[in-house]
């Protein structure tokens, strides 16, 4: 977050300055409105990143620390599904809805259920994926306990614990 908020905040400041200059030289509505909204978009993003930076008490993340090692980044990074049919389902539904805008409203009957169903599948899949992750962590912990009966391996923590903490 150390540089990110500066880049986005800088973009917002530039857009605000351009918008003001544009308004006071041209008094033209549409361009000023668009520049204003552009400023708002990047202002929000920059402000959010600045808040994150303060919430971290300005301690750099490993990727903001020029001297970080791979060790500093250890631990869970993110959740990455390997393959999923649901995005294609949402996409197909969206295309049917798009065709409905061209040819007639009856395409909604195909498109909307596809989108809704696929969105449900998409969400449920993420949940069940997390369960699977927990199971795997439990197995790994069991294996580690068998191999090193005196202590844990210290790396794996279940997703549940992780999410409780954060």
């Amino acid at each position: 977050m150390k540089y990110e908020w500066k880049v986005t905040g800088g973009a917002a400041a530039f857009l605000a300055a351009t918008g003001l200059l544009y308004w006071f030289t041209s008094y033209e509505n549409s361009g000023t409105v668009m520049l204003g909204f552009s400023f708002a978009a990047y202002g929000m993003l920059g402000g959010f990143l600045l808040l994150c930076w303060f919430r971290r008490k300005r301690i750099p993340r490993p990727e903001d620390n020029p001297d970080a090692t791979q060790e500093d980044g250890a631990g869970e990074v993110a959740f990455f599904p390997a393959a999923s049919i649901w995005p294609a389902g949402i996409g197909l539904g969206a295309i049917f809805c798009a065709v409905a805008l061209i040819y007639g409203n009856w395409y909604w009957i195909i498109g909307l259920p596809l989108i809704i169903g696929a969105v449900i599948g998409f969400t449920v899949e993420a949940e069940s994926g997390l369960d699977q992750v927990d199971e795997l962590h439990a197995e790994a912990a069991k294996r580690a306990a068998e191999e090193h009966p005196d202590g844990t391996d210290g790396v794996h923590e279940s997703h549940a614990e992780h999410s409780e903490r954060s």
């Binding site: 977050m1 150390k2 540089y3 990110e4 880049v7 986005t8 800088g10 530039f14 857009l15 351009t18 200059l21 544009y22 041209s26 549409s30 361009g31 668009m34 520049l35 978009a41 990047y42 990143l49 490993p62 990727e63 620390n65 020029p66 970080a68 090692t69 791979q70 060790e71 500093d72 980044g73 250890a74 631990g75 869970e76 990074v77 993110a78 959740f79 990455f80 599904p81 390997a82 393959a83 999923s84 049919i85 995005p87 294609a88 949402i90 996409g91 197909l92 969206a94 295309i95 798009a98 065709v99 805008l101 061209i102 899949e125 994926g129 699977q132 992750v133 795997l136 210290g154 790396v155």
Partner: protein
């Protein structure tokens, strides 16, 4: 079904052949193959390749349309296609080249290369990534199928000025399919932008601070910033146009009190950042290729970053330089901003030449394409400075001079770099090299053909030939230059064939590339070719903007301050 990614908690893995510590823990699950993999994969590399292959098919389609346009214009009073078909051809040529080919090809590169260069296991939102590909493909198919409707495809030019686009002037579903197709590709662009920005902000490897990212990643990031500002405006402009056509609103219809100029403002507020969306990622590729092939760090790294950021910023304030002749815009503001953009672009040229200066240059095919880019983009940029000045633009607006200008920027600039990127990263995608001789043949044909096509068009524009005319009488002095231009177009078309054949053949019979065929400097060459699922088995320590070079050449460490 799922994968959890972890970084190792042990000692820092030794970088080199003896590495053992795995970077990822992969949960077993179905790993589909073939068509199912194509549809369901959330791997950023698969999606990136999908994007690039689809985009290249778009390039070939729109390229065929261009050959049709040039055949019609080769001789005066020609009747190769009907007048209406001609209008459809140039409209869809522009639309497909911009919305389906150049932009999405860059999104494909962003998908494939950015996570590899910053040491990330995948994009931040892998399933959204997959969804954005389907929206893009749907948009492409809708645009293509519009040729099969009863009135044919859209025929009002790629920027679709109101009120010509209103339902009374352009009836039929062709125009609607144009609106909806573009809106879908627009949504896909927005998703990709969100994804890429989150990836760059949140998934960098430890030690990869922002000011150590390769210039390519910086350029992609600024591009995606622009996408986030420009594409929503386009999509909402399209929605308003759809409302005008179907629900009798009057946003752009002067008969109902609407303002056609509003469409121009909205469209170009998207349209000019779009030009940089199509150019900045390719500037990034050029920077990577030139640095690697010269075996030097990028000259003036921070200057390059500053130039990219200022091009991105300034491009938000120049939209109305497409609208000088409407008489409804503030000329000094837009002329000044447009001329200012020449400054950061000049810095980039200076730094590219500075990177090559006293380097050990390998004239491989990607490097040749990049040098071709430097020459032709410079020409396109200079004619851009000419067109940015209102007095000159009033003379040249809507002539072939403008056509020549933006083809020098988009073809001589971006498309040449598309070819450079194919030759540069094909070993990473497939593990095999492309044939250098075929590549050089392709470069020579494209270079000669391109210049033969578009250089005469400058003169045609100065002689007063306006763009988008379907034919011309034979007494205006246009004949010879048009014939020359058409012959050039055929040579350009032939120039694509060696590359296609090269790709087709090298997939099976190319030389085995190895992990790092070009002695690269950035992290994408630190993994195997093609990279394994979730990319890295071990990362070298990241202590400069070219970590792999430092790991491979400990005697020539990158000095800080470059």
């Amino acid at each position: 079904m799922t994968i959890l990614h972890e970084r190792p908690a042990g000692a820092e893995p030794e970088f080199g052949p003896g590495r053992v510590e795995p970077l990822t823990e992969i949960i077993p699950g179905p790993r589909p193959h073939g068509w199912v993999r194509f549809i369901t994969s959330t791997d950023h590399k698969q999606i990136g390749l999908n994007y690039m292959v689809t985009a290249f098919i778009g390039f070939l389609t729109a390229g065929l349309m261009a050959e049709g346009i040039r055949t019609q214009l080769a001789v005066p009073n020609n009747h190769f296609v009907t007048l209406d078909t001609f209008n459809q051809l140039f409209t869809m040529h522009g639309t497909i080249m911009l919305f389906v080919f150049l932009g999405p090809f860059a999104f494909g590169l962003a998908n494939y290369i950015v996570p590899l260069q910053i040491g990330a296991p995948d994009m931040a939102f892998p399933r959204f990534n997959n969804l954005s590909y389907w929206l893009y493909l749907g948009g492409f198919l809708i645009l293509l199928f519009s040729f099969m409707t009863n009135n044919g495809a859209a025929d009002f030019g790629w920027f679709g000025y109101a009120p010509l686009t209103e339902s009374i002037h352009s009836p039929g579903p062709g125009a609607d399919m144009w609106i909806i197709g573009i809106a879908l590709t627009g949504f896909s662009g927005i998703f990709t932008a969100v994804n890429t920005i989150s990836t760059i902000f949140c998934l960098r490897a430890p030690g990869m601070v922002m000011f150590r990212m390769p210039i390519f990643c910086w350029n992609q990031m600024v591009t995606m910033f622009l996408v986030l500002l420009a594409f929503p405006v386009l999509t909402s402009a399209m929605a308003m146009l759809w409302l005008d056509r179907h629900l009798n609103t009057h946003f752009y219809d002067p008969n109902g009190g609407g303002q056609p100029i509003l469409w121009q403002n909205l469209f170009w507020f998207f349209g000019h950042p779009e030009v940089y969306i199509l150019a900045l990622p390719y500037f990034g590729v050029v920077t990577e290729v030139i640095a690697t092939m010269s075996k030097k760090p990028v000259f003036g790294y921070k200057g390059m970053v500053a130039a990219t950021l200022s091009i991105g910023g300034l491009s938000m304030g120049v939209w109305a330089h497409h609208m000088y002749t409407t008489g409804a815009v503030l000329l000094p503001f837009f002329a000044g901003m447009s001329l200012l953009i020449a400054v950061p672009t000049g810095i980039k040229f200076f730094n590219w030449i500075g990177t090559m200066w006293r380097g050990t240059i390998t004239l491989s095919t990607p490097m040749l394409f990049c040098i071709g880019f430097l020459m032709m983009f410079l020409l396109g940029g200079l004619t851009g400075v000419i067109l940015a000045q209102p007095p000159l633009d009033f003379q040249l607006h809507n002539t072939y001079f403008v056509v020549a200008h933006f083809h020098y920027v988009m073809f001589g600039g971006s498309v040449f770099v598309v070819f450079a990127s194919i030759y540069y990263w094909f070993p990473k995608y497939t593990g095999r090299m492309l044939d250098e001789r075929l590549g050089k043949l392709s470069f020579v044909l494209l270079f000669v053909g391109f210049n033969l096509t578009f250089f005469p068009q400058h003169d045609l524009g100065l002689r007063g030939m306006s763009r988008r005319i379907a034919t011309y009488p034979d007494n205006l002095g246009y004949n010879f230059l048009n014939l020359l231009s058409s012959i050039g177009a055929y040579i350009t078309g032939i120039g694509v064939i060696p590359t296609l054949w090269n790709i087709f053949r090298s997939l099976r019979h190319g030389k085995i590339a190895g992990d790092n065929p070009w002695d690269g400097q950035t992290l994408e060459w630190a993994t195997s070719s093609p990279p394994p699922e979730h990319n890295f088995e071990a990362l070298p320590p990241i202590r400069s903007e070219r970590p792999l070079w430092d790991a491979n050449h400990p005697d020539m460490l990158t000095q800080a301050g470059h």
